[in-house]
């Protein structure tokens, strides 16, 4: 932290906790109140937890920064969350690092839809965002070409088996859950949908677009006006598909993740996407989305650090960072924010045995991406610290609003 005095220490802590993971002491787990805190959550990538697991779904820092991470049993050097004098702290080698809080459970979580589905399985809640993932199955994996950092299908298959959690949601369940969630004043500022890619249709992704239209319309029926603060994290749709999506739903912003901002590595790590669409076309489609949603209302996520996966990734952090920021600048200059999450080599992904880069790499990456938005006058309200919370770089933007 001494070396990066102009970077939020909360962002540095968040990045390191995510890359090294953490565990809980029994005292800290004892502080979990199942009536108040979230201990179950539907997520696309990562882990939905076991049926009886009562582990906090995530952490919040004093400044409102989210740490979106779950404990890893295989982490070699994890932080430890402990309860000391009635408060919860992140500790490292026995030293207190920062105070943390467990995420609160929204009022709708323990309710059921008319079909009997637990509402927490329909919409998960980040501190200020409703997350609805209508399809937890990615078709790229059907042909053995899933992205190597991702465990979406392994996670959803396990959740279906262990928790009876459906991989697909119904529009009626979505409508009823959003209706219930909106009864809680001040709880949410955004609605996000995401899904595994659906390749089928007359044109590739046509069925995925149809699914989003149906689900966004169901959610949108709860709002007074047609447009409402919302985003999707989806496949790279054609201009025709994007226009259809924009015109028929309340959607205001759009994300399609380029994942690895380097064509050669994209071809290796995201083999299916490269084979079916290609890096250049995936990128072109994201940039064209700016014509519909406007500059700053389109972002693209990268799995920060995955560009150093071996054996084909960069071996020098300087070289990797240079390549990533150059490509990010090309996006930014055309109205697209590049946002990064911290690559965690997850169980169930092809890269589960890999090692992520240094903390310093993530600090430089976050600052570099945030600085690019400043340079190109892009605000990222659609994907900021309170809307998503998964991007150290957009956390930095809040200290530097345009």
């Amino acid at each position: 932290m001494d070396k990066y005095k102009d970077v939020s220490p909360f962002v540095i802590i968040k990045s390191d906790v995510t890359r090294r993971s953490f565990t809980y002491t029994d005292r800290a787990l004892g502080a979990l109140d199942k009536s108040k805190h979230q201990y179950q959550q539907r997520v696309l990538i990562g882990s939905n937890g076991g049926e009886n697991a009562a582990v906090p779904v995530s952490l919040l820092l004093r400044d409102g920064t989210s740490i979106i991470s779950t404990p890893s049993k295989t982490a070699k050097n994890p932080y430890v969350v402990d309860q000391i004098d009635g408060k919860l702290y992140l500790t490292d080698q026995g030293e207190i690092v920062e105070e943390v809080h467990y995420w609160y459970k929204p009022d709708y979580y323990d309710k059921f839809t008319s079909s009997g589905t637990p509402m927490w399985q329909v919409a998960s809640a980040r501190p200020q965002r409703l997350d609805i993932d209508p399809n937890s199955h990615c078709h790229f994996w059907n042909k053995g070409n899933g992205c190597k950092f991702c465990n979406i299908n392994a996670n959803s298959t396990q959740s279906e088996k262990e928790c009876n959690m459906s991989k697909q949601l119904t529009a009626q369940d979505v409508y009823e859950t959003v209706k219930e969630a909106l009864k809680q004043p001040g709880a949410f500022t955004n609605l996000k949908m995401s899904s595994g890619s659906i390749l089928s249709g007359a044109e590739i992704f046509d069925d995925e677009v149809d699914m989003y239209i149906e689900m966004l319309q169901a959610a949108g029926d709860n709002f007074k006006e047609k447009k409402f603060p919302s985003t999707i994290v989806a496949s790279a749709f054609s201009e025709k598909q994007l226009a259809r999506l924009y015109e028929n739903t309340g959607l205001m912003t759009y994300t399609s993740d380029i994942e690895i901002p380097n064509e050669a590595l994209f071809a290796w790590i995201c083999k299916g996407k490269h084979k079916e669409v290609g890096y250049a076309e995936w990128k072109r489609r994201i940039i064209r989305a700016v014509d519909i949603f406007g500059a700053g209302n389109v972002s693209s996520g990268i799995v920060g650090g995955c560009e150093m996966a071996q054996p084909h990734g960069f071996t020098s952090e300087d070289d990797a960072l240079k390549a990533v920021l150059e490509e990010a600048e090309d996006f930014a200059s055309q109205g697209v924010s590049i946002v990064h999450c911290v690559w965690v080599p997850m169980h169930g992904s092809a890269f589960h045995n890999q090692q992520n880069p240094s903390l310093e790499y993530y600090v430089r990456l976050a600052k570099g991406l945030s600085d690019l938005r400043k340079k190109y006058l892009l605000n990222v309200d659609m994907d900021n610290y309170r809307k998503c919370g998964n991007h150290p770089d957009t956390d930095l933007d809040r200290g530097n609003y345009l």
């Binding site: 108040k36 004093r62 409102g64 501190p127 809680q184 004043p185 709880a187 809040r398 200290g399």
Partner: protein, 152 residues
């Protein structure tokens, strides 16, 4: 244990008192806002409700919590006047505390859309009345005064 005595806490709860929050940006340029809703919580910490996410005050408070910089609150009513300096300790954007103040804001004005509940830990208090400040000066700097004030 809060350093705010009962009198100051009562003044902070008084909606008729003048309350001003002073912050500074990254270059040190000051920014002040007058807000009669500044209050104190049960733990003796100061509550400032930020209604505008991208306001200068909010950005300055974010940088203050990140880099441990003090903010100041001027509090006065009638003959009483205090300056309280402290550190932003929590930026609450969700959960029961946020929702409590969100509802309170709505009661004050249905148009208010609360961004952040700032919890400020007071660190030092100065009696800001002229009498108190002059007394301190006289004691510390007895050579600084106009002679006519000492004439018979």
């Amino acid at each position: 244990m809060s350093i705010l005595n009962e009198r100051i806490q009562a003044l902070l709860q008084n909606s008729g008192a003048a309350k001003v929050l002073a912050t500074a940006d990254k270059q040190g340029i000051p920014h002040i806002v007058s807000d009669p809703t500044i209050s104190v919580n049960n733990e003796g910490k100061i509550i400032y409700l930020e209604l505008i996410e991208t306001s200068q005050s909010n950005v300055n408070l974010v940088n203050s919590i990140w880099f441990k910089r003090k903010v100041a609150i001027h509090l006065s009513k009638g003959e009483e006047s205090y300056q309280i300096k402290g550190y932003p300790a929590y930026s609450v954007i969700s959960g029961p505390v946020f929702e409590h103040y969100y509802k309170l804001s709505l009661e004050r004005n249905p148009e208010f859309d609360l961004s952040t509940v700032w919890i400020i830990e007071p660190d030092e208090i100065t009696d800001d009345t002229y009498a108190a400040r002059k007394k301190k000066e006289r004691e510390g700097h007895p050579l600084i005064t106009h002679l006519d004030r000492l004439a018979k």
